[in-house]
Structure formats: structure tokens, C-alpha cells
């Protein structure tokens, strides 16, 4: 929730401000739906949060990159949410009920995120030369993280194999990545932007794009918690949680008092 939250107070007009608020709010909701699904499995949120706060849980590596300009908000919606949709549609068709139900809901909302992001990029790309440069710069920085977000190559993925065997996940990471690239590259071309991969080529024979080498070292570093924003984002989360403690306690105390009063009455 935090990387884009940064830009809510700086959104360049009222319409964008409202859209970004609604989008970031949805992302908070996604966290909640997934916690909710996990709770059906018997893991409670306090436990999940403490895993997150102590760095035990591996949260989506994308949140470790900084958002440096307004165009990043466009790039995130378009690329990161776009990649998320690819991942999630696969999970939505998976076999675990509560999880795939949450995913169905999430996917609907992601499609709004995806479009608003593309709309931002399109507006910038058609704007002043400075705006176009801002959009291209954001694409340069977010392209590879988004491509990596679809998970390690099949020969490098520890979880994917097992998830596929259990039918929680129905397709391999590389297959999903190919579909993402096939859809996204023409979208970039349409608005006059270029993906930062000099080896990207369309293969007439297969009908798919082939991409250049992916820097998996960076991916595994970020997952390990060594991204540029890892420590800060985590600290912000822990801080907010600590600051909220007295509020949660107050509401609990009030509820207990009310329950007691009802008993007496």
C-alpha cells in the first residue's frame, strides 16, 4: 500500500487524486481479502502480520522499489497490476476455494488499476516532451521488476512446481510471463514508448516475443530483503502498527464495558 500512497498527496489534479485514492484503497482491500482467506485456513492475522514485520513473510518484491515521479503511478498500474492480473487469473482458477474466491474479487478490481495506469501513461506520452520523458523513464525502471514479478524461471522456482502439482496454480511462470509480454509490448508501442530490452524480438514462427536475459540475482536479492526500499517500508509498517496499538486497545476496552453493561441490564 505504501509505494503509491506516497503520491496521493501530490497527485496532479483532482480526478487523478480520487482515482489513486480508490486504487490504493483497493490494494488495502486485497491484503484484507487474502488475510481473510488465510484465516479460513486457520492462520490468524496477528500471526501473519508478525511474520511480515519480522521479515519472515516474503511480501511481493515489487514494493521494494521506490516511486520517483508521477509517471511511476502510471507504470505501476499498467505493468505491476498488469502482471498481478496474469498471476492472479491463474490462481483464481485454482483449486483452493476461499483463495480462488478472493482472487476472483481481486481480479475485477485489478482490471480497473491496470486501465487507470495505462491511461496515465498514455496521457503523459501524448503530453509535453518533459511528460513523455517522465513516462519513458518510469517504463525503463518498472519494466524488469514487473517481468520478474511473474516469478522465477521454471528451472529456478522452488514453489511453483509444488503449487502446480496441488493444482492451486495451473500454469508455469514462464508461460504466464510470455503472455504478459505478448500483451504489453504492443500496448507500449501504441503510445509511442519503448520497453527497455534491446533483445526483445517478435518471433514470426511462434507468434510470441522473445525477451533478453533477466537479472535473477536482483530478484533474489530483493526477495531476501535487500531492495532499495525494503527496510524503510517495513519500518513504516511496524511504526503504524505500534502507533495503532492504543487505539485497538481502547476499542477492545469499550466493547468489554458495553458487553458488561448489557449483561447487567
Amino acid at each position: 500500500m505504501l509505494p503509491e500512497g506516497n503520491w496521493i498527496t501530490r497527485a496532479p489534479n483532482l480526478r487523478r487524486k480520487a482515482i489513486l485514492l480508490a486504487k490504493v484503497q483497493d490494494e488495502g482491500g486485497h491484503g484484507l481479502y487474502l488475510y481473510s482467506a488465510a484465516e479460513t485456513l486457520g492462520v490468524d492475522r496477528t500471526e501473519l502480520l508478525s511474520q511480515l514485520h519480522t521479515g519472515k513473510a516474503k511480501y511481493s518484491s515489487i514494493f521494494n522499489y521506490p516511486t520517483l515521479s508521477w509517471a511511476d503511478i502510471g507504470a505501476i498500474g499498467w505493468l505491476v497490476d498488469g502482471a498481478a492480473i496474469m498471476n492472479q487469473t491463474v490462481l483464481a482458477r485454482g483449486s483452493y476455494g476461499p483463495y480462488s474466491r478472493a482472487m476472483v474479487r481481486i481480479c475485477k478490481e485489478e482490471s480497473f488499476h491496470n486501465r487507470q495506469g495505462y491511461e496515465i501513461m498514455m496521457t503523459l506520452a501524448q503530453g509535453t516532451p518533459e511528460q513523455k520523458a517522465m513516462a519513458q523513464d518510469a517504463l525503463n525502471r518498472w519494466w524488469w521488476p514487473a517481468v520478474m514479478m511473474l516469478g522465477p524461471s521454471d528451472d529456478k522456482s522452488p514453489n511453483s512446481d509444488q503449487l502446480m502439482r496441488w493444482k492451486v496454480k495451473l500454469e508455469s511462470n514462464d508461460a504466464i510471463r510470455e503472455r504478459f509480454i505478448d500483451r504489453t509490448v504492443p500496448q507500449a508501442e501504441f503510445i509511442g514508448l519503448k520497453v527497455p530490452d534491446k533483445d526483445m524480438k517478435f518471433n514470426e514462427k511462434t507468434g510470441h516475443y522473445t525477451h533478453g536475459e533477466i537479472n535473477w540475482d536482483e530478484f533474489f536479492e530483493v526477495i531476501k530483503g535487500n531492495g532499495p526500499c525494503n527496510a524503510k517500508r517495513l519500518k513504516d509498517r511496524v511504526e503504524a502498527d505500534k502507533k495503532g496499538r492504543w487505539v485497538r486497545e481502547a476499542a477492545t476496552a469499550y466493547a468489554a464495558k458495553q458487553a458488561k453493561e448489557r449483561e447487567i441490564a
Binding site: L2, N13, Q25, L32, T128, W246, A250
Partner: protein, 252 residues
């Protein structure tokens, strides 16, 4: 002052208050005491931004100089803003935010109830829509007033001190000047004395139920109607406006 200028000023007062308090609430994003409350605060912020957009768009129309809602929100300086001082006060802790929202939401609730009867069709339509939203905002703030006021010793103290700090900004909500006088006569705007009576009654009731005390300070800080703000507004606008101002004339 002619009637057109009075309407423009009045719409700025309403629109700016919603814009600025909505902005303040949006600063909570990702920092709420629990995930559910983050989502709730953003919902409320969104209502305020929407309300501000309608009011500022109409203000620009009335002014007739080709300024739209974004020009008004992003290209005016501090001294031209007409939001109530209470709306620009920093969030502080969750208790301060709840105190600010409760005092302002109660005001807005009764004000918009009367605005629904405005003879101006656009204002009346905006008020009808907004009043439903405010009804929920006030419920949210009131429920939190009760829980924090009558929760733990710590929450009680924090909320009381939030109320005490903000109290001096409440009196200007009900001040009336030439603008109000002209517009009351027109049937465009309501008499704030009536709003004041209802506000005082409700605020007293809730504060008592929450086991809190009405602040005793009698000092009254005013100035928003002439654009004399507290220092906080300048920083808020600097952050809010910088991208828009950095690229003059650009579309977003």
C-alpha cells in the same frame, strides 16, 4: 461586492474546506491503526474530494473567468484559500483526527441539511448527495468518539487533549459576514445561527456520552474568511500543488 462575487466566495468556502480536510485524511493512507480503518478513512477522504470537485467546478462557472476546479485547487496561493482553519490542522494522533472530524462533520451535517433547501438548484443537488455521505462520516466519527472517550485512560486523555487543542477553531465556523448576509437574503445559503444551535446541542450530547469535558478555553481563532490561515496550510499546498505547477498548462 455583487451577488456573483458573493456566490463565488461562498462556494470557495465550502469547496476549500472539503478539499483540505479530504487531503488531510488522505495522509492517513497506510498509517491507520488497523487495515479496516485505513480503508474507512480513505472512503471518507474520497467523499470529500468528490464534494470539493463539484463545488469548485461550480465556483469556477459562477466566476466566469475560465477557471475550472483544478485551476482553483492547484493554482491559488494560501491567502486565496477560504477553508475553515480547523480543516487544515495536522492529523496528529488518531484521537486528534477523530476530534477534528467529529467537530467538523457535525458542522457539515447541519449546514448541508439546510443547504438542501437552497434556491440554487446546483447547490441543492450537491447538498442532497453530500448529506448522505456526511451522515455516514458523522456516524463513523461519533462511534470513535465514544470508543476513545470511554475506552482506556490513555485514549480518553488523548481525545480530550485533541478536543482542547481544536476548540479555538470552532467558533469561526458560525461567523457570518457580508457574503452570508447577501446570500441568506437570496435563499442561496442558510443562516449559520441555526446551524450553531444544532451543532452545540449535538456536540454537547456526544461529548457527555463519551465521558469527556467540553473544553473550557474561550480564545477564538478566526481568519479563514479573509484567507488568514495557520502556518500549516502553506506546507500542505506546497505538497499538493507542486507537480501541477511544475508543468504549466500540461494535461494529466
Amino acid at each position: 461586492m455583487n451577488i456573483q462575487e458573493a456566490k463565488f466566495q461562498y462556494l470557495l468556502r465550502l469547496g476549500d474546506s472539503s478539499l483540505i480536510i479530504g487531503h488531510r485524511l488522505s495522509e492517513w493512507c497506510g498509517h491507520g491503526p488497523i487495515l479496516e480503518e485505513d480503508i474507512a478513512l480513505i472512503n471518507i477522504a474520497l467523499d470529500f474530494v468528490g464534494n470539493a470537485t463539484s463545488l469548485l467546478a461550480y465556483a469556477g462557472q459562477i466566476e466566469g473567468k475560465g477557471r475550472d476546479e483544478d485551476a482553483l485547487a492547484y493554482l491559488r496561493d494560501e491567502r486565496e484559500f477560504r477553508n475553515l482553519l480547523i480543516t487544515e490542522q495536522p492529523n496528529g494522533d488518531f484521537a486528534s483526527t477523530i476530534a477534528r472530524q467529529f467537530l467538523f462533520d457535525t458542522y457539515m451535517f447541519f449546514l448541508y441539511e439546510d443547504l438542501k433547501n437552497s434556491k440554487d438548484e446546483t447547490v441543492a443537488a450537491i447538498a442532497v448527495k453530500s448529506h448522505k455521505e456526511i451522515t455516514y462520516h458523522l456516524r463513523h466519527a461519533t462511534e470513535w468518539m465514544l470508543r476513545l472517550g470511554d475506552g482506556t485512560t490513555e485514549s480518553h486523555e488523548r481525545l480530550q487533549s485533541g478536543l482542547n487543542d481544536l476548540w479555538m477553531f470552532t467558533s469561526e465556523m458560525f461567523d457570518m459576514d457580508e457574503v452570508d448576509a447577501m446570500l441568506i437574503k437570496e435563499g442561496f445559503a442558510p443562516d449559520l445561527n441555526k446551524v450553531k444551535t444544532a451543532w452545540e446541542k449535538r456536540v454537547k450530547e456526544v461529548i457527555a456520552e463519551a465521558t469527556l469535558q467540553i473544553p473550557t478555553s474561550t480564545f477564538k481563532q478566526k481568519g479563514s474568511k479573509e484567507g488568514k490561515h495557520t502556518e500549516y496550510l502553506g506546507f500542505l499546498l506546497a505538497e499538493m500543488q507542486y507537480v501541477h505547477r511544475e508543468y504549466p498548462g500540461a494535461k494529466w
